[in-house]
């Protein structure tokens, strides 16, 4: 069974996104940013694309947003080809880039009015729409505030509102949770849930599993331009848990403890070679262990018995692709 048909079989619903064999190589680069990437996403789901930096997540979203042309393959959004009809696609998608900017000298309502005008929405319809959107993202009391004075979370919500002005079927959000504090993340999660209930299909990307596993119905894990795993969030997370490899992250109390922890880790028999990374500023150590949760617990015990005071200990999800590639 091909990947496409397998992915399609995840849900019997209508696949609003159907990417077939996408390949993309940037000029001057030897490696492919995307290679034979195939994916189908049913309508109404919140889909999370997880992977490290450079995995190809942003390239997928940019191709869907008509900002990039794939070298090979095609994507269909609601049956419309991104290659053949980029202009039509722009009415179907709302895109929020990872490094979005706002026109600092505009006001909140003006900003939305501008994008509404870009989509040909004028008059009473525009006024009503902007009122509704500001209410949805809880910025209705700040409609005359200048964008430069908004907090990061508010800017994120406003940017999300701008992607909704033309009532798109699909939302493409590149790293929407990046740089947000926990309350803002909770707000974002609630907002995405609300949008999903409204029937929108949401595709978001992140390089941290924890950021998105509570937001998404379905997850796809990417590395080196390929889709490594795809399925319902719970299943994918379970699959990660079953992998015979653990990424651990710990924080110690002093720099001396950090040096000793490195020595202990390097002498630990189940440590993956050359996988220890330290950050002297935050006094943290990250490493990969060959084994399951018991190995991870044994490593903690080993550290404690060596007289190292461990302030925090947990699993590292940042190097998710390493778990998949070498597991």
């Amino acid at each position: 069974m091909s990947e496409s048909s397998a992915a399609a079989s995840v849900s019997p619903g209508y696949n609003i996104i159907d990417a077939q064999g996408l390949s993309k190589r940037y000029p001057g680069q030897k490696a492919y940013a995307l290679e034979d990437f195939t994916l189908a996403i049913p309508q109404g789901t919140i889909f999370g694309l997880i992977g490290p930096n450079g995995a190809g997540k942003s390239s997928v979203l940019k191709i869907l947003a008509t900002l990039l042309q794939p070298d090979r393959g095609d994507v269909y959004v609601a049956g419309v080809s991104v290659r053949r009809n980029p202009h039509k696609i722009r009415y179907l998608i709302g895109y929020m880039p990872d490094e979005y900017g706002l026109y600092q000298n505009m006001r909140v309502a003006e900003y939305l009015e501008f994008f509404a005008a870009c989509y040909g929405i004028h008059g009473k319809r525009k006024t009503r729409l902007i009122g509704e959107l500001l209410e949805l993202v809880e910025l209705d009391d700040r409609r005359n505030q200048e964008l430069g004075t908004l907090s990061r979370g508010m800017k994120q919500r406003l940017c999300l509102a701008h992607t909704l002005v033309h009532d798109p079927k699909v939302l493409l959000l590149d790293e929407p949770a990046a740089g947000l504090d926990p309350p803002a993340r909770i707000e974002l999660r609630e907002l995405l849930r609300e949008l999903s209930r409204m029937g929108k299909t949401i595709i978001l990307s992140s390089h941290v599993l924890n950021d998105v596993q509570q937001m998404c119905d379905t997850l796809g894990i990417m590395a080196h331009g390929r889709l490594l795993s795809y399925g319902p969030t719970v299943k994918v997370v379970n699959q990660i848990d079953k992998l015979p490899r653990r990424g651990i992250k710990l924080r110690v109390l002093s720099e001396a403890d950090l040096h000793r922890a490195v020595q202990v880790a390097e002498n630990f028999p189940l440590l993956t070679k050359r996988s220890v990374h330290t950050d002297p500023e935050s006094l943290t150590l990250e490493a990969l262990l060959e084994g399951d949760d018991r190995t991870s617990a044994a490593f903690l015990a080993h550290l404690t018995m060596s007289g190292i005071f461990v302030a925090q200990y947990g699993q590292s999800t940042a190097r998710l692709e390493e778990l998949f590639l070498k597991g």
Binding site: A6, V10, R83, Q104, F115, C118, H162, R197, L228, G231
Partner: protein, 390 residues
Amino acid sequence: MTRAYFNLINPVALREMKVRMRGPRPFVLLACYMAMLALVVLTIYLRKGSTSAYSYGGNLLSGNFGPTRNYETGQDIFIAVFLYLLVTVAIVTPALCAGLVSREMEEGTYDMLLVTPVRGRALVNGKLLAVLGYICLLLLAAFPLACIVFMFGGVSFANLLSGYTIVLMECLLLSVISVFFSGLFRRTSLAVVATYCLSSLLLLGVPVLSGSLMTTIYSDPNRNGNSAYQYSARIDPAFDLPKRMLVFNPFAALGSVLAPNAPYRPGNTDELQYFPNSRSFWGNPTSYYATPGFPLNSQQDQNYRLAKLPILPGGLALWQGYVLVYTALSLFFLLLCIGVVKPLPRRPGLKLPFTPTIIIPRFKRPLNPVLAATPPATVIAPERESEPLG
């Protein structure tokens, strides 16, 4: 009604105009610009008489300026006002336009604009419209001061319109070039530098190049029977070519408005034949407006011919040729801008008549040792359908 009118305007232009006119800054700039222009006009007026052919060497301030003619002052003010506008436009336009596209890229707003249905053409037009609107405001604000020339005479309303056309064409070309560089380099600083370089070439480089070419040609003793002075544009049209380069130069075009056929700046000993709307203006490098009457083949006659403005095809004056050339250049760069600012994805139907693989051999991608170990995508089938929505 107003709302309906604004709906017709390009949204990009409307946004740019709104933002550009926000706050006190544009009005303060406008006030400074007007004050400077007023000072220029006042200075020219106070120097009335100092350069007149009838002057006793004094001027209006010294009270010893002798009999002068009003049209001289009118023509001086005309030239001064439009020189001021030309220089202002050359400085202000690149500063305003060079960041129009690149700043969007630098601030991260460009991608969001590109995914809207606003097409490349509308994007460029909107941005240009907004900037040209602001510069037109500056030019129109100068109109009452420019109209002072009618109090003195020597300049017709058609001359004034020609002057405005020259300034507007300079503004249009420089703004289009700025936007083109802005989209091409994607860095504001680089776009500003490139535009200033190109505008310097047009404003200063062209007269220097034209002058040096003419000097080279005239100093060639082998021309026309071993005599550097035996030439005629009529029998040797190639001779006029270096001068024709001046169609790229707005200053030369401005000089040709008042005296299209007599651009000669006479020397002290020249015998001048005055006409009611022509004059000599000692020391003013922009004045070409005298028509001398010389004996044929005299040194003075040769000097006159050297300095005379070129003969353009169709009997066009230099400034008319300038307007045509700048229109063509503006259209050319406008097309380039649209391509650079929002390149449309290549349509699959439009293929080259040959396959690039024939020219560029495609090598098999080297096998990445990490990727080689990559397992195929694991698709996990759910036990039940995803949660019902809504």
